[in-house]
Symmetry: C2
Subunit: 156 residues, 2 copies
């Protein structure tokens, strides 16, 4: 599960997280590596699961998704089967961008991306009221997406 990374790999990982479209020849220059070596290492990083996938980052506003909402959910029962079912329904909802099962003073943190408040309200009905296992939830409306992304620090 944990691949041994050398310092070339680290340079590559930082670079492709920032911009996955830079040519391998260009990556080679930055990492002081041949193009062939870059190719080999990137492929290895993918096959070892260090790089999980490549994706395009879409600007939510550009497709009419203007509202980001963070929600804290408390559950009624911690029964495993009920929690599993909740997680499945959360994960299956396209407007739930992220979901974390947490320890602390709530049980789930969800990040919604919705078109408007109406859509959010409708989704809370579907996801929270229907399940009968949500004790309460707290809504935090984002005024500013200060920092977004899934970038992973690669240090050393």
């Amino acid at each position: 599960m944990v691949m041994k990374l050398n310092s070339y790999d680290r340079v590559l990982l930082r670079a492709v997280q920032e911009d996955a479209r830079v040519a391998q020849s260009e990556l080679g220059e930055r990492a002081s590596l041949s193009t062939a070596a870059v190719n080999r290492r990137l492929k290895l990083l993918s096959s070892e699961g260090v790089i999980e996938r490549y994706t395009a980052c879409v600007n939510p506003k550009a497709v009419g998704y203007d509202l980001t909402i963070v929600v804290e959910v408390k559950v009624e029962s911690e029964r495993a089967d009920l929690l599993d079912e909740m997680q499945r329904s959360f994960a299956a909802c396209p407007q739930v961008q992220q979901c974390y099962y947490v320890a602390g003073d709530c049980d789930f943190v969800l990040i919604f991306l919705v078109r408007n408040m109406e859509q959010y309200v409708e989704l809370t009905r579907q996801l929270f009221f229907k399940s009968n296992n949500v004790k309460s939830f707290k809504t935090l409306v984002a005024m500013n997406r200060v920092k977004t992304g899934m970038a992973v620090p690669v240090d050393e």
Copy 2:
């Protein structure tokens, strides 16, 4: 700011969010479009800012980042200059993966990705205690990353 999307664009956006490495010829087949048309539309989507960038998704565990922590921060003062300075310092920290400025019962929601608790504690000192504008913060440790990513729904 808002580009008019046709139904080809929507198919393309869904596809490249899932996997940015599919060939344009393959995308063309899926969208019933020529390769050249796919190329042109993707380039347009980028230049119009609909697609912000392309990125590699790195598995945090594979690089030793095993802990995801959600933090709610309450501030002392809402003075604009103080808030700006906080946002800058949060955004500048590589272990702060995401940061939202929110309305509701706290002011900021941060998502940390850290190696271990020690690192988290150290970062809270730097980011929260130094600023002198953090009234309190609440730590939620993720037991399960149920759903992650920055995927944006593209409907219609």
